[in-house]
């Protein structure tokens, strides 16, 4: 069976490499993709959308449907992770560990009888993996706001430089995941609860689809941002640029919330109690 599998893989690979010979060579100006589609985008996208980054213009304007359903796929991934992994019950509180912050001593509490009161000098730690490192905690805490600022820059500056909703959303999500890794999961959830993820995740998709529907209500095609010119009080070309920014913000919100949501569910096995 194993040898058969290897033979199939090698045959498929050989077929793919053989078929590669028919491809146009890299950066060939005569290749089909460069004949009529690319020149149109390169020549017309700046005057039609006033967005210097052609990739962003194609992604969010000319190919808006594609990006909208990509966002929906990301949203679906988050929801599926939630439904598969989340355990809503809070029964069987087994063993909790606390650290005395002054001496570094750890104690183990069996919670069959009663939940102990929260004391100032005791902090709760994870059972499996809880290093006590002040340098890592402080460095990551200082790093988080700069990461978030960079994420916002990537979303907002996607018109002019590489970046956009997906990358910026992932960076924003990674900043909260960094907080969860360097401190613990409860700190990160305290900053941004599960309810917030569950609201932001569909809200991002709603912003995207709602912008498209608004364009349709105003009399043009779905996702034709030129229709927003009347609302935004600008000419239709600038309205397309602003429309791209609005949908990028929606994409960023959905991706950020989904990334944190998936991470919380995976790392805590759906209990939202002790994470990585």
């Amino acid at each position: 069976m194993r040898i058969l599998g290897i033979i199939v893989v090698i045959l498929t690979g050989a077929l793919l490499i053989y078929a590669m010979g028919d491809f146009p060579s890299w950066a060939d100006p005569a290749s089909p993709a460069h004949n009529h589609v690319s020149p149109r985008y390169i020549e017309k996208s700046l005057e039609q959308t006033s967005v210097p980054n052609i990739v962003t213009a194609v992604l969010a304007d000319y190919r808006g449907y594609d990006t909208m359903f990509e966002t929906t796929v990301v949203f679906a991934a988050g929801v599926v992770c939630f439904f598969l992994l989340r355990i809503p019950r809070k029964d069987e509180p087994t063993v909790r560990r606390y650290r005395h912050t002054l001496t570094g001593m750890t104690i183990r509490v069996k919670e069959t009888r009663q939940i102990p009161p929260v004391l100032e000098e005791f902090e709760r730690i994870d059972t499996l993996w809880a290093p006590h490192d002040l340098i890592i905690k402080t460095c990551c805490r200082i790093l988080v706001p700069f990461l978030q600022l960079f994420g916002l820059y990537v979303i907002a500056h996607g018109h002019h430089s590489p970046g956009g909703g997906f990358q910026g959303g992932v960076i924003l999500g990674a900043s909260m995941i960094l907080l969860a890794i360097s401190h613990d999961l409860r700190t990160a959830i305290g900053r941004m609860s599960e309810r917030v993820h569950a609201i932001l995740c569909p809200a991002g998709v709603f912003i995207y689809a709602g912008t498209g529907a608004l364009c349709m209500v105003l009399g043009l095609n779905f996702l034709d941002y030129g229709a927003l010119a009347g609302i935004l009080h600008v000419d239709p070309v600038t309205a397309r640029s602003h429309g791209i920014l609005i949908v990028e913000i929606g994409v960023g919100l959905a991706v950020m919330a989904t990334m944190i949501w998936i991470y919380n569910n995976i790392s805590s096995k759906g209990k939202y109690d002790e994470g990585l």
Binding site: W26, T56, W129, P162, V170, I177, Y263, S267
Partner: protein, 81 residues
């Protein structure tokens, strides 16, 4: 495009891909997959697709590696069956 650099990174991509499949340890596999994503990101950047390279660096090499590590953290050393 410098072909020596291109060839070196392509070789590393192939090595990382084969290693990620062949290695027994799940955590090592996750790390090798992150290395594979990062090498792919360099390739995209060399070919001039900066947007794709950015996405690959943030999603492929960054967050998905963290997801894999978080999932591996929740497994045990031996299978239960």
């Amino acid at each position: 495009m410098i072909w020596q650099l291109d060839l070196a990174i392509l070789t590393l991509v192939v090595i990382a891909a084969i290693g990620a499949i062949a290695i027994k340890d799940l955590l090592g596999s996750a790390i090798l997959f992150g290395a594979y994503s990062f090498m792919m990101c360099l390739l995209w950047a060399i070919m001039g697709a900066v947007d794709v390279a950015f996405t690959e660096a943030s999603v492929g090499a960054g967050v998905s590696t963290v997801f894999f590590v978080a999932a591996v953290f929740r497994t045990t050393r031996r299978t239960k069956d």
